[in-house]
């Protein structure tokens, strides 16, 4: 047992917060998929204007899960870049003002653990509070942390989240590194692209998790992380993961894949598809979320809603329909910048 997921909330480039509608695709602008942010009426003006975008989104997504005055036994966040825009401002101030008279705003908002801290302040929560920053596996590591805590304390509830934002500096650097497309690429043409890079994205996804099955919408039954840039090694590891973690007689009903239109990464996704039989349904999500280090948290939000029967898979996500009849077991596979891979097995609760 890993943990049961009881509530989930997501602020993303799609209409995933408030009145949820994932059928209508919101497309990228200049190769970027910006999050659709709500008005955040629960934050007071002074707090809101100081928050970095990632803190706003993270705390904003967490609030509905804490609305019943719930106080989780821990707040565990995965983020790579966090408030990178504010971080950049702070570093520029150091140079611009010759290390003199630096203000606290950008420094506070530019550190990764600001998101979990802000949520703790809002929730008046002095329990376990940790932020994982392991690049493309930050969310998976946060989930593993939550799983270990649930294993020790099954009755406890934890807030688990994945958050990252688009920052001008990182976008420029990652584009130079070939991770974002240099030529214009429409969202609906992403998977036909044969060049390097993807669309840039951002978002915040929050879950409340525990060892209690009652009332859960989904179960995360297994998770693994792989560090390798060798397709054969990754394929073997995923194959072993499935055979070890999927109960005998069960099959993967849906592969939710992080395929992202980057020709350099495609062989990994192709290898994962080859492990499954040719009737297994395949759906993709990066045309919705864009590429960002904790995009797998967006995939987990989708998987929870699909196995929980809350949302149907929209047509624009489906790569192969296969013999999809019921959704009981979903494999989420995502890779970030070739070397980091994460697999999550999501089941009906």
């Amino acid at each position: 047992m890993m943990f049961y997921i009881h509530k989930a909330a997501c602020i993303s480039p799609q209409q995933t917060f408030g009145d949820i509608d994932i059928e209508q695709l919101h497309v990228a602008v200049d190769n970027k998929l910006y999050a659709i942010e709500p008005k955040y009426p629960h934050f007071n003006g002074n707090a809101l204007r100081r928050m970095s975008k990632s803190t706003r989104m993270g705390a904003g997504a967490a609030l509905p899960l804490l609305a019943d005055n719930d106080k989780p036994n821990g707040i565990i966040i995965g983020t790579q870049v966090s408030g990178m825009e504010e971080n950049g401002k702070f570093l520029n101030q150091i140079i611009e003002y010759n290390e003199d008279m630096l203000t606290p705003g950008s420094f506070v908002q530019g550190t990764p653990n600001t998101i979990s801290s802000q949520i703790a302040l809002i929730n008046n929560n002095k329990n376990y509070n940790l932020t994982h920053v392991h690049r493309g596996l930050a969310f998976e590591n946060a989930a593993l942390d939550a799983a270990m805590l649930v294993n020790e304390n099954p009755a406890h509830t934890y807030l688990l989240g994945g958050v990252d934002e688009i920052s001008a500096n990182n976008y420029t650097l990652d584009t130079l590194g070939g991770w974002f497309k240099k030529e214009p690429c429409p969202s609906d043409g992403l998977y036909n692209s044969t060049t390097a890079g993807s669309l840039s994205g951002e978002g915040a996804t929050m879950f409340t998790v525990s060892g209690n099955q009652a009332g859960a919408i989904a179960k995360l039954s297994a998770i693994t992380t792989i560090h390798s840039s060798d397709v054969a090694v990754v394929k073997e590891r995923i194959k072993n993961f499935i055979s070890k973690e999927l109960p005998d007689g069960k099959k993967i009903d849906l592969l939710l894949t992080g395929e992202n239109g980057d020709a350099r990464v495609f062989p990994f996704y192709q290898a994962c598809e080859e492990i499954l039989d040719d009737q297994t349904a395949i759906a993709r999500f990066k045309h919705m979320s864009g590429e960002y280090p904790t995009a797998s948290s967006f995939a987990l939000w989708l998987a929870c809603n699909f196995v929980g029967g809350i949302l149907n898979i929209p047509r624009h996500m489906i790569k192969r329909h296969g013999d999809l009849k019921s959704l009981k077991n979903i494999l989420v596979y995502n890779t970030h910048k070739v070397g980091q891979h994460g697999c999550m097995l999501v089941n009906v609760a």
Partner: protein, 87 residues
Amino acid sequence: MEIAELKEKLKVQIIQFLNLTDLTPADIKDDEPLFGDGLGLDSIDSLELIVLLKREYGVNIQDPKEGRKVLVDVNTMAAYIKEHGQK
């Protein structure tokens, strides 16, 4: 710089430094209190304003009592810059 021009520049800088994105310079009256019932700024903002005065005008405010007299409204800030500004 004329005092009227200085006040307009200050309003732009206050909005920029404090990220008051829902305001324009025209929304800030010269005699509108910066704290409390006026713009509703708080203690963290006062720190940002002190840094603004130092960075942009070379004005040092080291005595908290002096700061309370300077950071009242745009009028008092502009007058203090006129008297003590070094840029």
